[in-house]
Amino acid sequence: MRKKKFDYTGVFSSVFAIIIGLLVGFVILLFCNVQQAAPGFFTILTGAFTHGAKGVGQVFYYSTTIILTGLSVGFAFKTGLFNIGASGQFIVGGFGAVYVGVMCENLGGVHWLVALLAGVALGALWGLVPGLLKAFFNVNEVISAIMMNYIGMYAVNWFVKSYKPIFNNLRNESKPVLNTANIPKMGLDKLFPDSSINGGFIIAVLAVLLIYIVLDKTTFGYELKAVGYNRDASRYAGINEKKSIVLSMMIAGAISGLSGACLYLAGTGKHIEIVDTIADEGFTGISVALLGLCHPIGILFAGIFIAYLTAGGFYLQLFEFSTEIIDIIVAIIIYFSAFALIVKLLIQKLEKSREAKKQENGGPPPEAEGNGKGGKQA
């Protein structure tokens, strides 16, 4: 009972934040250019549909990577860790996928799967380091993950640049992967013709479901969450808390690595560019996770929503607004989604007055049920 109520407030506060974020975005557009503001704002809201089914397919395609990085951050959050290192895990995972995708020629039908798994493995390795440091040396995972972001970015640039077979000298980026390494379309190209969507989206949805089941329906997930709530109490309860922390970070890293692999194996002409900046996808993942309240299903919708806004934002250039307005709107949404407290209080007030009314009308008293969470351990 109690848990259901909480979810309800969470969703409500997200919607509240989205509305405020969009309103502020509209006001900013008004400030910049009064005449163009209304059509511009309309474009943000509906631009993604400009090309019908193709547009929708593009939204799903964009959402694939940020759903996965969001899932990575959200999963770590649920287990009490802040995975700011999704960017590093993402690019390292992408490198693993590209390496296998370019180099391994004789794998045939399973080539893309092997490449994908290489990405997952390298991502997990990049998550493993902060996990080990946190579990055994008490190193703050935020700092070590930031360090791993930079180390990963420089290492990938270094290897791609110095290893001739995968380096495209002319364009200063990695070579395209072989055709067999591209993730199959899995029939999605029939649903959304001409769009860049591919099986990566299905993989992302499967990952979301898997993490949901692991976190909410298994003893293993329960242990991970317990360690997040209270490390000492968990150890007392017989949970190997060091192992849990390491595994949490590893899984989070693996998901981010999968995200990188999905991007570079999408067959859409994405290559690892040799630039000394941290991948944006990891930080977008933080936004997605927060907007989705760190719940896997919420993250799925949040990822699609942000991809939807971003797709609409592309068309904003027609009205001479720069696309950064989308980032501003998302930032404001995240900011206000932190204000869950006001919304919670508002809802509590509403519910109290509703219950009071019910009792006046002779309705049944509110159910008195224990904490729903305690029963899960069994």
Partner: protein, 317 residues
């Protein structure tokens, strides 16, 4: 000898902004508010002050212009950090979330406004602030070469901030109260300290210093501002933890980081290092790898402020 002077001067360019921003973060965390928004505040501070340098470029120059820019950067930082303070202190929001929001907002806002004002997102400025040699002091042997040649006024401001911060934190009533709020706000409240006001003070100081740090970072190392401070806000966060939330240790941490950064950016001009033939990427990675290794040895006895990151609730037991 000249190589050592060169490395030292380069080190200062990288270390001073880290020092200033990490000290800012220290005030915030010591009052009990985690400020992960340092990166965003730096970006905003750099944005407004560099925009000022750009707009007044033909009219003003030299140290006077830089000093006004410094004030602008600090005011911007304060205003921007108030959003974080309001969310964290009044709304008891998750401090990571509001900090992330600010980090995301700043570069987008900087690009958006820069495009509206001047069409492109890069803001150029002409650097007229380098001090070739400080009069009198610059001609002292050794020390003059190390500290008073090829430098910026911001270096001395950074050192002054370090000294003032140390005194304020450990030798004043305000500092004691601030630290109390970060360790045990309920106890501080019972002793008559206004916890909310103290936390606001902490965040505002961090905003001012982070805003300043943004400007200090951009001026010596570039001639334009491209809506980014290259992750220096996050590095400052690392320096802060590395320095165990203590001013003097933060100084050593930022010097260490600055030195490794300086070597990474200037090794090709140093014959001794260039002869090794180590790939440049390895030099770029060294600061981060070294930090990880040092953290392994220092983190066992972490001395983080106990109440840092926990929204203060008067009624909590």
């Amino acid at each position: 000898m000249s190589v050592i002077y060169f490395i030292f001067q380069q080190t200062m360019f990288f270390a001073i902004p880290l020092l200033i921003v990490a000290l800012g973060g220290m005030f915030s965390e010591r009052s009990g508010v985690v400020n992960i928004a340092l990166e965003g505040i730096m970006t905003m501070g750099a944005f407004t002050s560099i925009l000022f340098l750009n707009l007044t470029g033909g009219v003003m120059s030299g140290q006077g212009q830089l000093l006004i820019a410094i004030v602008i950067a600090m005011i911007t930082g304060v205003v921007f950090s108030l959003f974080h303070a309001y969310a964290a202190i009044n709304m008891k929001a998750d401090q990571t979330i509001s900090g992330t929001a600010l980090n995301m907002f700043a570069p987008a806002f900087a690009i958006f406004v820069a495009r509206i004002i001047q069409g492109v997102q890069q803001i150029q400025f002409s650097n007229t602030f380098r001090i070739e040699s400080v009069p009198v002091l610059g001609s002292i042997p050794v020390i003059g070469d190390l500290l008073f040649q090829n430098t910026y006024i911001t270096t001395y401001i950074g050192i002054a901030i370090l000294i003032v911060s140390t005194i304020v934190l450990y030798r004043t009533r305000f500092g004691l109260r601030l630290r109390a709020c970060g360790e045990h706000p309920q106890a501080a409240d019972a002793a008559g300290v206004n916890v909310y006001r103290m936390q606001y003070a902490g965040v505002i100081i961090s905003g001012a210093l982070a805003g300043l740090g943004g400007l200090v970072f951009v001026v010596p190392t570039s001639t334009n501002f491209n809506a980014t401070v290259s992750g220096y806000g996050f590095l400052a966060l690392a320096v802060l933890i590395f320095g165990q939330w203590k001013p003097v240790r933060i100084m050593w941490a930022s010097l260490f980081f600055g030195l490794t950064k300086a070597i990474a950016s200037a090794y090709s001009g140093i014959p001794f290092l260039n002869n090794f033939g180590i790939p440049s990427y390895l030099y770029k990675m060294i600061p981060y790898i070294a930090t990880l290794i040092v953290l392994i040895f220092t983190s066992k006895n972490s001395q983080a402020p106990r109440a840092s990151g926990v929204p203060y609730d008067k009624g909590a037991r």
